[in-house]
């Protein structure tokens, strides 16, 4: 415990290490919080859900904070339900006894671009006679646009953009633009101000109701943006954290510990045991690591846990065996090891109580520095298309972006967000690892 505190105190001397440790701790905390808040099954279901989950999101739009850096503000998405602020409901009954429900959606439009679409969602209850709705739009420049009148079923989606009649009415301009500009405006600047959308619904039966919802799909969404399937990218960004941490840490710990133990055993017994371990290492060193993983991913299983196991198995017999062996050979000849042999300590005891503790200080920095390489490996595999098909991860996100030519089409956020997170992870672990190396590696002390 005292030693641990001393180590912490030493770390404090290196600002880069403090920086790295803050990042690492933040990532670990975030990983735990994410897993608790969004359980695995929920995350998978949401991520793999279709229109019913993401239908009201805009498609391929950058995150909201894009607006902070722009002069011409992008339209933010809007979802208004009955009962929300800006929605007023008025119910009257005509002399003929027909109830009319007037729902007014009012919103302040202060943007310099046009929304992706304006969509009404109607839900109604009736026995035989369908309710009837008519929609009107009042613009700030005091135009009144009669959008349309139609009978609705139990559920009815009405995207204004696809309404050809409305398009003609607006002089051939696509409605999501036409509604917001003045007639024959060549510059196509949207009119700013309060827009009012009035929905009049008439029901013809006792007990028949109409609920309406208005969605304005904008040009920005959430803090992470959306992808080609309108999915909110915050989910893979968040869930990428626990996946990356689990993969990176498990792989790094698994490989480092096993490498060290095997190197110790080989060095201690020497002879044929050592020979076999060294030959396996040499063969493994010339085997193409990534190609083998790609083959496993292609022909056997793309589960992240299978890939993790294969990664650990293939990473055990690598250069680490050689460098640990060189240290163990030195330690093995120490007098105190001979003393231990003299007082009758068994081989296992000598390996695990005498040899390995001596080298553990050197294991720690290596382990920490190895984490990002495994995090990147997982991302690389996903990018190459053999990532876990189910899990939303950073690599999967980059893969999707790549498959949809994100850079070519200017959807930089799609690639940059996971890339920045990967870089921060790498930076955090690397700066912590380098500092630990300086603290624990006697040869670097005082440098």
């Amino acid at each position: 415990m005292k030693k641990f505190i001393n180590t912490l105190r030493e770390i404090w001397k290196y600002p880069s290490a403090v920086f790295g440790m803050i990042i690492v701790l933040a990532l670990l905390v975030a990983a735990v919080v994410v897993v608790v808040k969004i359980p695995y099954s929920e995350a998978i279901d949401t991520w793999r859900g279709g229109e019913e989950v993401y239908g009201k999101n805009p498609r391929n739009v950058p995150p909201t904070w894009y607006n902070w850096f722009r002069k011409d503000k992008l339209v933010e998405s809007l979802d208004m339900n009955e009962g929300d602020e800006g929605v007023t409901i008025e119910e009257i009954v005509t002399e003929g006894g027909t109830p009319i429900k007037t729902t007014t959606f009012e919103f302040d439009f202060q943007y310099d671009t046009f929304p992706q679409d304006l969509v009404f969602y109607f839900t109604s209850t009736f026995d035989t006679k369908q309710p009837f709705v008519s929609v009107k739009i009042f613009t700030p420049d005091e135009r009144e646009i009669k959008v349309g009148s139609f009978a609705i079923g139990a559920t009815h989606t009405y995207p204004l953009k696809q309404d050809e009649k409305l398009r003609k009415k607006l002089g051939g301009v696509v409605p999501n633009i036409g509604i917001f500009i003045q007639e024959n405006d060549e510059t196509q600047t949207p009119v700013k101000g309060i827009y009012r959308l009035v929905v009049e619904s008439i029901t013809f039966e006792e007990g028949s109701t109409v609920q309406s919802e208005f969605v304005l799909t904008g040009q920005v969404f959430g803090w992470a943006g959306t992808d080609h399937l309108r999915r909110d990218l915050s989910l893979p960004l968040l869930w990428g954290i626990p996946v990356a941490m689990a993969f990176g840490l498990l792989a790094a710990i698994g490989t480092s510990v096993l490498t060290m133990a095997i190197a110790a055993i080989g060095t201690w017994y020497g002879g044929i045991v050592d020979g076999i371990i060294q030959r396996i290492t040499e063969i493994n060193l010339v085997l193409p690591f990534l190609s083998i993983l790609i083959m496993i991913g292609t022909f056997y299983s793309r589960s992240i846990w299978v890939i993790l196991g294969a990664t650990i198995a293939l990473s055990i017999f690598t250069g680490g065996i050689k460098s640990y062996r060189s240290m163990f050979i030195q330690v093995k000849e120490s007098t105190y090891i001979e003393a231990a042999r003299a007082y009758g300590a068994k081989n296992g005891r000598i390996i695990f109580r005498y040899l390995i503790p001596r080298v553990i200080p050197l294991l720690l920095p290596g382990l920490v520095s190895a984490v990002p390489s495994f995090v990147f490996l997982e991302a690389s595999l996903a990018l190459l298309g053999i990532g876990d098909p189910v899990l939303p991860t950073w690599g999967k996100m980059i893969n999707d972006a790549y498959a949809n030519a994100a850079i070519y089409r200017g959807w930089y956020y799609w690639i940059l967000e996971p890339a920045v997170l990967l870089m921060i992870t790498g930076l955090g672990f690397a700066s912590l690892g380098f500092a630990l190396d300086r603290i624990f590696n006697p040869r670097l002390r005082g440098m």
Binding site: Y336, A339, Y343, R353, Y354, P357
Partner: protein
């Protein structure tokens, strides 16, 4: 009083294999040691003293070649045991060792109390608490302050580390302790303290010692017997008192003459040349080339002659 023989070594051989040929580090060593006695092994560097100690404890290096002979401990031939039985029954149970450079023989990542209790835990099914208690008692006995128990080896001075190493060799109360140069890197005062400590322990625990040293003067304090080794062989073995007053072998004479004495004006002597290579030792007497009493017969293998209980390997006494 009839003395019971504790250790009997017959024709012990230990050769090391090298690319130039076999190094005959221990070449046919014979001696016996009664109970509760100390034998001091002296000789130049590289004449096989440490190798003999390692051969006795079967701590063979990887390149060990020939390893033969008989070692009878309490009449049991321990050379005939297999490794596991040897580990269980001999090491530290009957015979322990304070290795050369005992200061480095402590595990740097273990607290000294754990280190000292380690042999007990390894050998007998004692609880950790009991072992630690024994370690504490042993620390008090060898004069290490009890508050040092929680320290690591590097936090101790050389003399203290030596004491810890000695404590470690004694925790299992073996009958024979081999001390390999226990005082070589210590100052004179500490050397004297350690020797006094060993004397006390010898009395108290009735242990026997094999003490390997270059330092004849310090060794004379505790020695009951002296064994002079040269080029892998024992050239003289005998009672300490008579050895120090009148060494028999020419090599022993020269060794004794090289030691400064308090009340003597004689010039210190030295031995010319170097010990022979142990890969191809000269035929006949191995000391012949450097011997001041050399004569024709010395080119033949000298016999071991017994003179009133002392044995010497030299043609002079034939």
């Amino acid at each position: 009083m009839a003395e019971k023989t504790l250790l009997r070594v017959e024709d012990l051989k230990l050769y090391f294999q090298t690319s130039h040929g076999d190094v005959q580090a221990v070449d046919g060593v014979n001696f016996s040691l009664p109970e509760n006695k100390a034998v001091v092994v002296i000789g130049e560097s590289g004449c096989g003293k440490t190798s003999m100690a390692k051969a006795l404890l079967r701590l063979l290096p990887r390149n060990a070649g020939t390893y033969s002979g008989k070692v009878l401990l309490n009449g049991v031939d321990i050379m005939a045991m297999d490794d596991e039985q040897y580990r269980k029954d001999v090491r530290w149970v009957k015979m322990s060792m304070v290795p050369q450079a005992a200061m480095n023989s402590l595990n740097p990542v273990m607290r000294v109390k754990d280190q000292v209790s380690e042999p007990m835990i390894v050998h007998s099914a004692v609880s950790k608490e009991f072992a630690l208690e024994q370690a504490r008692i042993m620390f008090q006995r060898v004069g290490v302050p009890v508050d040092f128990l929680n320290r690591y080896a590097f936090e101790l001075s050389g003399g203290m580390r030596q004491r810890v190493a000695i404590a470690m060799s004694l925790v299992t109360v073996p009958e024979l302790v081999i001390l390999d140069e226990p005082t070589s890197a210590l100052d004179v005062l500490t050397q004297a303290n350690i020797m006094n400590l060993l004397k006390g322990i010898k009395k108290e625990f009735a242990t026997s010692f094999i003490l390997i040293t270059h330092d004849v003067a310090t060794a004379s304090e505790i020695a009951d017997y002296v064994e002079v080794m040269y080029a892998g062989q024992i050239v003289e073995f005998g009672d300490a008192y008579r050895f120090f007053t009148e060494p028999l072998h020419p090599y022993s004479e020269k060794l004794m003459a090289s030691i400064p004495r308090l009340r003597s004006t004689s010039k210190l002597d030295f031995i010319t040349g170097q010990p022979p290579s142990l890969i191809n030792p000269p035929t006949g007497c191995r000391f012949a080339d450097r011997c001041h009493k050399r004569f024709a017969k010395c080119s033949e293998e000298p016999p071991t002659v017994n003179i009133d209980g002392r044995s010497v390997k030299c043609w002079l006494y034939q």
